[in-house]
Subunit: 202 residues, 2 copies
């Protein structure tokens, strides 16, 4: 891949993604073409195709970046200080706040991303796999510290993710949300953590 | 209310509901009128309006009866033998099976009822209140037997209902279902029951 020497490819990639995101937000997926994005950036669409092989690849990258923005604070919780039960509570509360901000805070942008996500299901799968990996890390840490007991790490993580689904699924989170303290989510997590602690899945 | 002496009102009510259900199933809500139901029963639509004040009242009664059909086996579990933990597992498993049969077993009828339900939200509210009442009864029995400890019955029941939502919500149950053994639901219930037992919400 060759680009002009004054624009290194990583920066070009970010500039294209930012422009595409802005146009998708403003005009919606149906009305945003690669040519539009190129025009917005005062460059030829050939320039974009040198970075993203297709319109679909560009869209997938936009959605990927949108989802990935949520990852940094979640990763910070998993790798940061605190006991595994504290981490689980902080992590699911953070995730609920992020989802609420997306769904309720900017409904138009969220609708755009929902439409895009249906076109790139592999991005959702990757996001869900990433979330599951984070939960497994917290449960494994709890197990290694002698706090949690369970037979199968994958099954235990799945149960924790299932029990908390109403507090992170975009179709439900507005209905289940009961304010910034997340009392309902915390009650579910209290039951789940007690179950992990008492070896209900051991 | 007067009806002809050879058709006692309760029977007439059931006959109208059965005919309306059959026609809704066949033609959908948009194409089913009170006149159609009356014609199907070879009676005047005045006869129907003597039992149901409006088309909306008839629809609400059809949906109510559809939901209420699921109630008998659930009530039998709550009032039957077994420990409260056993009852919770049997009850939520029964509910999941019922929902799956509705959603996956007869998708056309289910779509019809989903459309109807959006027109009569008070029927959904009544159904959800009924489910919550049943869960409260099982939790209260467990508390009175010294098996469960929690501070607030309503909040505890809400947490149990929230944690199990993916296994009974019509939009999610097909995705979460993992076969007749309901391993994933049982794992969530194992955590929840251990939490109630260990006093996580006390």
């Amino acid at each position: 891949m060759t680009t002009s020497p004054d624009i290194p490819p990583p920066d070009l990639r970010e500039r294209i993604l930012t422009a595409a995101e802005e146009m998708l937000r403003r005009y919606g997926p149906a009305k945003t073409s690669v040519v539009d994005v190129a025009r917005h950036l005062n460059m030829s669409h050939g320039n974009i195709y040198r970075v993203f092989a297709s319109k679909e690849a560009l869209r997938a990258a936009v959605v990927d970046r949108w989802l990935a923005r949520a990852h940094a604070p979640l990763t910070a919780i998993v790798t940061g200080p605190g006991t595994p039960p504290e981490k689980l509570i902080a992590w699911f509360t953070c995730l609920a706040d992020q989802k609420l901000a997306k769904v309720a805070g900017d409904p138009e942008l969220f609708a755009t991303y929902q439409a895009l996500l249906h076109q790139v299901p592999e991005v959702i799968d990757r996001h869900l796999a990433w979330l599951a990996e984070q939960v497994r890390a917290m449960l494994a840490e709890g197990r290694d510290a002698g706090l949690f007991r369970f037979q199968d790490l994958d099954a235990a993580a799945q149960a924790v993710l299932d029990a908390t689904l109403p507090f992170r699924h975009p179709d439900m989170i507005v209905a289940t949300n009961d304010g910034p303290e997340h009392r309902k989510l915390r009650a579910v997590l209290a039951l789940v953590i007690a179950g992990l602690t008492s070896g209900a899945l051991a």
